[in-house]
Symmetry: C2
Subunit: 225 residues, 2 copies
């Protein structure tokens, strides 16, 4: 890792902050890495009460080595925004690695980047990747060539460690893991429908039904355009 490596996180209103703050914490320890949080016009992004300021205008970025698109409830608006999508396409075109966390893969899909590609997504929306011609894969971190994608929210940490291993070797990734004391010990085993109690999954699906259906409908409309 002799030359600087630029990692761009394109943020947008309604982004889920842990989708990018998790990978950011990992990738900032990558030797030679330069991390950039960007948004349309460099506007500040308020995500769930946290105000991220001093962002770089997406318009000012000519290229990057790694493009990392986070997910969030605002992903559908981002998918429908031609300005935002055009910057994703432009930066992805010249990036060495095109990556996403959570529903960030839907943004890549809407930008036409995932056709025929295997990708991860938040479990609630994983299947909708197929509407864009992508191949949904229910795994924590998915790689298809130079495209890396992580599953829902917290998968961004596992994704970022996987990317560090690719870029700088396994030993570097392990040292970062040790520094961040990433030996997770969730107090419960409920982090995915495959392992959570069935009643809990049913309850979660029921309580989010209206929101999910509305979002899925919007995603479908975007996929048909």
């Amino acid at each position: 890792m002799n030359k600087p490596l630029t990692v761009v996180f394109p943020l947008y209103p309604g982004v889920t902050q842990l989708d990018f703050t998790g990978p950011w914490q990992v990738l900032m320890h990558l030797p030679g890495a330069r991390l950039i949080a960007a948004s349309l016009g460099g506007e500040s992004i308020v995500s769930e009460g946290l105000n991220f300021a001093s962002l770089q205008p997406l318009e000012s970025l000519t290229e990057c080595d790694v493009l990392c698109v986070p997910g969030g409830g605002g992903c559908t608006d981002a998918m429908k925004n031609p300005d935002f999508i055009s910057h994703i396409q432009r930066l992805a075109d010249n990036a060495t690695y095109v990556t996403s966390v959570c529903t960030g893969s839907l943004i890549l899909a809407a930008a036409g980047i995932l056709r025929g590609k295997r990708a991860a997504c938040h479990w609630m929306y994983l299947d909708t990747l197929a509407w864009f011609g992508a191949i949904p894969v229910s795994e924590r971190v998915v790689r298809d060539g130079n495209i890396f994608s992580g599953g829902g929210v917290t998968a961004g940490i596992d994704f970022a460690l996987t990317l560090v291993a690719e870029l700088a070797g396994e030993e570097r990734a392990q040292r970062i893991q040790l520094g961040l004391e990433y030996a997770p010990a969730p107090p419960f085993n409920a982090g995915h429908p495959d392992v959570a109690p069935a009643a809990l999954v049913a309850q979660q699906l029921a309580s989010t039904a209206a929101l999910r259906e509305r979002r899925r409908q919007i995603i479908q409309e975007i996929s048909l355009q």
Copy 2:
């Protein structure tokens, strides 16, 4: 959870952002919770390249239900800042739960809050808690009465789920875990000295030796004041 529950995160220069963005992402789903990121004078905090703006002045906060102090390389400066420490003491005095992530426990210790109390910390500095009369415990999440502390950085997510279970029940914590897809699958098993390859731990200790020793000396000086 009928009445609003106020959670205050006191930020300071040199805070590690994942120490609070992780718990923030969990606790924001706690029904009725109001999360507040604060700093001395409400000054923006730049943490590892991310600029957190629109912070509440610590001076303006009269009380909170949960105080959550994150860690970071700047913790020693925070420990030496009498203004900052006095706000920690004042808010802790009336909080129902006093909590920390990573080296945030050293700040609680410097504020005199952990005497005789069991607490967690980042593995590199865990033993230094004893210099303040606290009882260091090498666990991911430690509880002593109304004091909850998490280990290094990423332990903040496990800590926050544990706190949600205390405040709103296990089912709520599990639903948040499911929503954040927190079924961690680290690509390596190197997140703690107990499990990482011995050579890796030795290398990490060697490469951080000068920094660690300097920090430990500062922590010791503070503990003797």
